[in-house]
Symmetry: C2
């Protein structure tokens, strides 16, 4: 039993209402009104759904000891009642990226793009869960899910723009930006 797997179902129902779907790089996703997020491995498109995106939470690929401690001290849980805004940002990196050795990927990711250091400044306002899809044969490599209160929407925008301007992002070959608002009261995870 795979307990770390999540499926995002884009369709006509769910806890999250879509306010915007924007293609950032490469092929867009079909427009949908709602996203349902379930902690299950769903493979058959449910009635009324347009797409499914699957990913698993997993061990850290780049985070070092010091960064892990900083993140643990600051990162908030998902499901905070005030965090009624969300973003689902699926990205795919190039084949050349995945061919790079680990030290070079780490150097681009953090030494030269400050992915973790830049993100830390937005904690604890922005909650985040990373889902890995690369090894599942999915169309994207990562599905990142963010939750934040409406008053932090500008900060979130700033974070997203900062990351997109990094060297790391030159390796992103497909990205879609989906923004949502919560439709039903939060349950803490």
């Amino acid at each position: 039993m795979q307990r770390r797997i999540y499926t995002f179902i884009g369709g006509s129902k769910g806890m999250w209402r879509v306010t915007r779907i924007s293609p950032v790089t490469g092929v867009d996703l079909l427009a949908v009104g709602w996203v349902d997020l379930v902690n299950e491995d769903i493979r058959a498109l449910p009635a009324g759904a347009q797409w499914l995106l699957r990913g698993v939470t997993s061990y850290e690929r780049y985070t070092n000891q010091r960064e892990k401690e900083q993140l643990s001290a600051l990162q908030p849980p998902l499901g905070r009642p005030e965090a009624t805004c969300a973003a689902l940002i699926p990205i795919k990196k190039s084949a050349a990226w995945w061919q790079l050795p680990q030290d070079e990927r780490r150097a681009i990711f953090e030494s030269r793009s400050s992915h973790i250091a830049a993100s830390l400044k937005y904690l604890p306002a922005i909650a985040r869960r990373l889902h890995h899809s690369h090894d599942l044969g999915e169309p994207f490599d990562f599905l990142t899910w963010f939750e934040y209160a409406p008053e932090h929407a500008d900060s979130f925008e700033e974070l997203v723009q900062k990351l997109r301007a990094t060297e790391e992002w030159r390796h992103v070959v497909r990205e879609v930006d989906i923004r949502l608002v919560r439709n039903v009261p939060a349950r803490r995870e």
Copy 2:
């Protein structure tokens, strides 16, 4: 379509005949006469099969630039006609291992256990393909497949014993060692 996925099917047919299945740590696998290795995602146990193990080839988690160059220069392909012996070694690491930050896992894996450096000495005699299973919800985290000629059987034994004596291996909570011989002529991959 997932093209990097492989399924090892333990049962009554296949290209590889089992000569030995030994539990090394933790729960054993059921005894089978043959292993069939297919480049497909098989989820339903075929008639006559006792078990299925699935894994994907993937990007390198620890290998640095220099090591990658050394490995690329030396590692042989699978399917060499003379490599009629094989080993399938599924291992699972502890939950505590997967909680370690990346730099600490790398330090244990290479700085303190010399996993890559020790293995390099056995190239090009021993061909190897690593399959990742951790994120697939499988019972093991890795399925490593080795192929070698009968005259390198002692070298392979030495490599396996060296690795099992490392600090890295203290984090292995389940390991099975399956040895096989090829039943039909090789096809180069």
